[in-house]
Structure formats: C-alpha cells, structure tokens
C-alpha cells in the first residue's frame, strides 16, 4: 500500500513537471507575448517594472524557468501582466472558494440524483424509470454544456422568468449553474450505476439474501449497493476534471466570480502569466484529486491488487 501511494505521487509529480514545462515554454514562445521586451508591447510601465523585478526578464529563458520552478515550489504562481499589482495567488484565493462551493454542490447533486436514478432503472428495467434515465443519459452526453446552459438560461430566466440569471447572491442563483454543471455527470453516473447494479444483482449472495426472506428494499440498499457503488468511485477522478472544464463555461455564462471565469478572461485578455499560473494550479489540483481517488478506490475495494 505504501509503495503504491509513493508510486502514484511520483507519477503525479512527473505529470505536473511535464505540464509546467510545456506551459512555460509555450507561453514564452508566443510571439509578442508579455515576456518579450517592453518596447515591442504596450505594457504599463509599473507592471513591466514589477515583472522585471520579480522574474528578472533579462535573464536567459532557462534561468527564468528554473526561477519559476523555485517560486512554484514555494507556492508562488506568479503575477498578472494585465492587472497591476494582482498576483495569481490572489486570484486563486478569491476565486477558488466560490468555484469549489459550486463544484461541491454539483458533485453532491450529481451523486444524489445519478445513483438513485441508476438503481431505479436497473431494477425497473424497461419501465418508465429506465426510459427516463436513458433520455437523461443521452441528453447529458450529447448536448454540450455551454449549449445546455444557454438553453436553460433562456427557458427559466427569459421565458418563464422564475430564476435569477447572473451572480451568486441567493440560493436561487445556484439552481441553474449547478444543474448545468451536474447534468452530464448525472447522465454518466446513472448509466454506470445501472450497469454495475445489473451485474451485482446476478450474484449468488443476492439470491441467498432473498432466500433468507430479507426485504427486497434491504437487499438492494444494503447488500447490492455496497458492491455496485464501487465503480462510481473510479468516476470521481474524471468527474473533478469535467467539473473544472465545465466551470470555464458555466462561470462565464452565469457571471460567477470563480477561477474558471478568471481563467477564461485571462485567455481572452492574453494574460500569459495568469494562464501559466492557473494552468499549473488546475493541473496540480486535478493530479492531487486523482491520487486521492485512486487511493480511496484501493482502500474500498480490497479485490484490487494495487502492487501490480
């Protein structure tokens, strides 16, 4: 177990190193980027001074790179080139709690809706619940999240006028963004849960429990669910990544002040240092989440040989 965790952490560090290196050199290689000398670009003088003081931009690229890695190791993600005196760390500190809150609610909603939906459609195979889950699954997998958000925004905020559109000031503000964010995860979870439930229900111990006379509801909730839910844990890793990229779109459409929106606006502003810092942060976040999920999975399911 210890060896496995160390292995996963080393693999994660390599992934992070590759991502950081690729991002750093790509951002520096863009012609006319903020890293080129001041006279080529109209960068505010105060920013340029701060940048040069911070990074020593007159140094050769490889020394800048080493310095950047050193700063990163101390948790310093760099500073913005567009907004004077804003660091990437400040952007993350302001935006991350907002994004994390919306994301966490979306995860909970996705699990609370997706799992029962999958179970019902597995038990009532071919009935209306099964059809409903298939329709949700198809819609959730087919319709891109930005199209879904715009359509729902149009339907509930423009036509029906029952939900607020922008910002996050009351609990009603959370309904639309969370629905849009959780929709495709619900679809995946319901499908995954359905097929894993169908498989588990064929096992002998289920028949034994039924033969003993255990109530059907208890057979499903207590005996079957315990094993059927394991595949859902593997989905939690990709789920975090889906919510992250989903947040780029949803936070933009619903004007939520999270890091997804900051990242997208840094892309349209061509604020390369923020893009670099945010990408590294997102990468680290995803890698850490994946490691936690993998370890969790190994702990929950003892049948997996993690030493292989």
């Amino acid at each position: 177990m210890g060896r496995y965790i160390i292995k996963r952490i080393i693999a994660g560090l390599i992934t992070m190193f590759v991502l950081t290196t690729v991002t750093f050199f790509l951002m520096h290689a863009i012609p006319g980027g903020p890293f080129s000398p001041a006279e080529e670009r109209k960068v505010p003088k105060a920013v340029m001074e701060k940048v040069q003081e911070k990074y020593g931009l007159n140094d050769p690229v490889h020394i800048q790179y080493v310095n950047y890695l050193k700063n990163l190791a101390q948790g310093d993600f760099g500073i913005s080139f567009k907004q004077t005196s804003v660091t990437v760390n400040e952007l993350i500190e302001q935006g991350f709690p907002v994004s994390a809150k919306v994301g966490l609610i979306a995860i909970i909603v996705a699990l609370l809706v997706g799992i029962p939906l999958g179970i019902t459609s597995a038990i009532k195979r071919g009935k209306w619940a099964d059809w409903l889950s298939m329709i949700i699954a198809t819609v959730g997998i087919s319709i891109p999240n930005f199209v879904l958000s715009v359509l729902l925004l149009f339907l509930f905020a423009v036509v029906l006028k029952i939900l607020p559109t922008f910002g996050l000031t009351s609990w009603q503000h959370y309904i639309l963004p969370v629905t849009c964010l959780a929709f495709s995860p619900i679809a995946y979870i319901a499908r995954l849960m359905r097929s894993s439930m169908l498989e588990v229900m064929r096992y002998d111990y289920i028949r034994t429990a039924r033969a003993k006379g255990v109530h059907e509801l208890q057979v499903i909730c207590k005996h079957a669910l315990k094993n059927a839910i394991i595949p859902i844990v593997t989905y939690l890793g990709p789920l975090v990544a889906i919510l992250l990229t989903g947040s780029f779109v949803i936070e933009r459409i619903f004007s939520i002040p999270g890091i997804g929106r900051d990242f997208v606006s840094s892309i349209s502003d061509r604020d390369y240092s923020v893009i670099l810092g945010m990408t590294v942060f997102f990468g680290a976040f995803i890698v850490i989440c994946n490691i936690i999920v993998d370890i969790l999975y190994a702990v929950i399911d003892r049948r997996i040989k993690i030493d292989e």
Partner: protein
C-alpha cells in the same frame, strides 16, 4: 478380381440362375445421395462481416435517423450556401437583428448577417473538423496502440507511461495552450485536437492486439516468416477493426464539441468565419432581446451531436455485438 468372382457366386446363390446384371432395377434403392445434397445445399448467399453488420445497423431506428440527419446536414452544409443570395460575412447594417422571416429564415445578427447561411457554414466547419480530426486520431491511435500492444515489454511500458502522464490533466488544458500558441485557425484546431484525443483509440487497439497476438493465425503467420509489421497491420489490426471504428465514431462528436467549446471561449475559429460555438457565443449578449440568434445554432449542434452519438451506439451494437448490454 477373384473376390468379385466369388461375390458373383454368392449372388447366384441368392438369385439362382441370374447374373447380377439381369436383376430388375426395382430391387435397387438409391441410398443417401439425394437427401445428402438437400441437407448441405446452401439456400442463402453467405454474408460478409460488413453485410452482417449493416443488417444489424439498419434495424436500429435511432441510428438510421441519426445517419439520415447527418447526411442531410452534410448535403446542406456543402451545397446550401451556393443557393443562398447571402454570404456568411455579408453585412447589411440596415437589416440588423431581424427576426426569422421568409427573407432570412433564421433571422439576422446585429451586423445584418443571415444566420441561416452562417449556421450552414458552421455545419461545414464542425463536420470537417469532426471527421478529419477523427481520421487523424485513428491513424495515430492505431499505430501507437498497435506497436505498444504487439511488442509489449519495455516498449509497452514506456509508451503507456507517456500516455499515463498525458491523461493526468484534462486534454482541454493542453488544447487551450496549443491554441494560444498556434493562433486561431482550422489547422491549429486540428493540430490541437490531435494532441491527446488518440489516447482512447490507442488503449483500445493495444488491448485488442494484446489478446489477438497469441491467436493461432498470428503464430501461423509468424511461422511462415511474416515480418512483425506485416502480422500487426495485415492480421491483428484488421481483426480488431470493429472496436476501432466504434471508438473513432465517438471521436467525431467529441471533436465537434471541442471545436465549439474553443470557439465559444474565443480561441477557436476567428471572425467573421462562422462556427456553431462562435454563433452561440455571439448570441449571449442578445439572449433577452433576440433569443432566436442563439436558438438555431444551439439546435443545430445539439441535433448533430445526438445523431452522431446514436450512430456510434448503433455501430457499436452492429460491429461488436459482444459489447451490447
């Protein structure tokens, strides 16, 4: 010879005074010959793998509707703009923000550009990117996964570790970075989409090749001296063509999605060229006043994604019946 003489003697015992040739025909009965032919006669023409798959695919109603929709969409995308009096970038500032009418079927945007023609142009770009990206990813995935699975051992370990490192972070992050670097154009979108999308195909091909390479026909090919590459590309890959096609079919909608996503974020297709993603993005500021500007491109992209996913599901059931749940 002596035996037959002896036999004749015996026959003469049973039918005294008669030679075998003099026996009446009624005493003889034809055995087996006719009935055997009936049993073995092949009454129907034999079906090839593809005919069989097509037969199964044709019965899948949703997949057939999807196929028809994509074909109609493709015909409209290719020929539609030729028959319209409007062009995708022709501005008419006097007729901005018009609602749908017989003049402009889907209305006009704030510059007076015809949204119907722009949606058709979006279909061109989306379908082009979807199919070209899927084709390139198939080639890369088949070669990468094939080599990894066939040679195994250290080659496999190195190639798969590279894959592990690449899938550690969401591919959209890589794609966004590369788009920033290459600039907005169709070519750079294609390059960006081919960076990581082949990984799924590569994994499928690898697992197929790993199971198939121990089959007898692979051994037979090796024993008559076929080279490794010949065995891999002439025997193993064609035998895993079903799963490969299924994976590649699902690459088409995911490439269309990525393009629309990038264009939506403003780093995909550059204005004034229309793409479904940019059309939806452009329509957000006017969603309260001119919702149709967003509605038609959104419907076009949703219906196309539906169709392609249905086609993918149908193909999976048709080509690889073992996967059917």
């Amino acid at each position: 010879m002596s035996i037959s003489v002896h036999m004749n003697d015996k026959e003469e015992d049973r039918f005294p005074g008669k030679h075998i040739n003099e026996l009446p025909d009624e005493l003889f009965e034809k055995v087996g010959e006719d009935s055997k032919q009936d049993n073995e006669e092949i009454s129907r023409p034999s079906k090839s793998y593809w005919q069989d798959a097509w037969g199964r695919f044709r019965k899948d109603r949703l997949a057939m509707i999807g196929l028809c929709f994509v074909l109609i969409m493709a015909v409209f995308a290719i020929f539609g703009p030729m028959f319209s009096q409007y062009t995708y970038d022709g501005q008419d500032l006097n007729n901005g923000n018009q609602p749908p009418s017989s003049e402009h079927w889907f209305g006009t945007d704030k510059f007076g550009r015809d949204i119907f023609v722009r949606t058709l142009y979006g279909a061109r770009i989306s379908l082009l990117i979807g199919f070209v990206a899927a084709a390139i990813n198939m080639v890369i995935g088949v070669i990468y996964g094939g080599l990894s699975g066939y040679f195994g051992g250290r080659v496999d370990m190195i190639l798969m570790r590279i894959v592990d490192i690449m899938i550690g972070v969401p591919d959209l992050l890589y794609i966004i970075l590369v788009m920033m670097f290459l600039g907005n154009s169709i070519q750079s979108i294609l390059i960006a989409l081919c960076l990581t999308s082949w990984i799924g195909t590569a994994r499928i091909v690898r697992s197929q090749v790993v199971t198939l390479k121990h089959q007898e026909y692979a051994l037979a090919a090796r024993s008559i001296g076929s080279s490794n590459l010949r065995i891999l590309f002439k025997h193993l890959i064609p035998n895993s063509i079903g799963p490969i096609i299924v994976t590649v079919t699902f690459l088409v909608p995911s490439a269309i999605f990525s393009e629309a996503f990038l264009s939506f974020l403003g780093i995909g297709i550059q204005v004034p060229i229309a793409s479904w993603g940019t059309l939806v993005n452009d329509a957000i500021p006017t969603i309260f006043t001119q919702p149709y500007q967003m509605l038609f491109p959104a419907l076009a992209i949703s219906l196309t994604m539906f169709s392609l996913n249905f086609i993918g599901d149908g193909l999976r059931d048709a080509l690889d019946p073992r996967l059917k749940k």
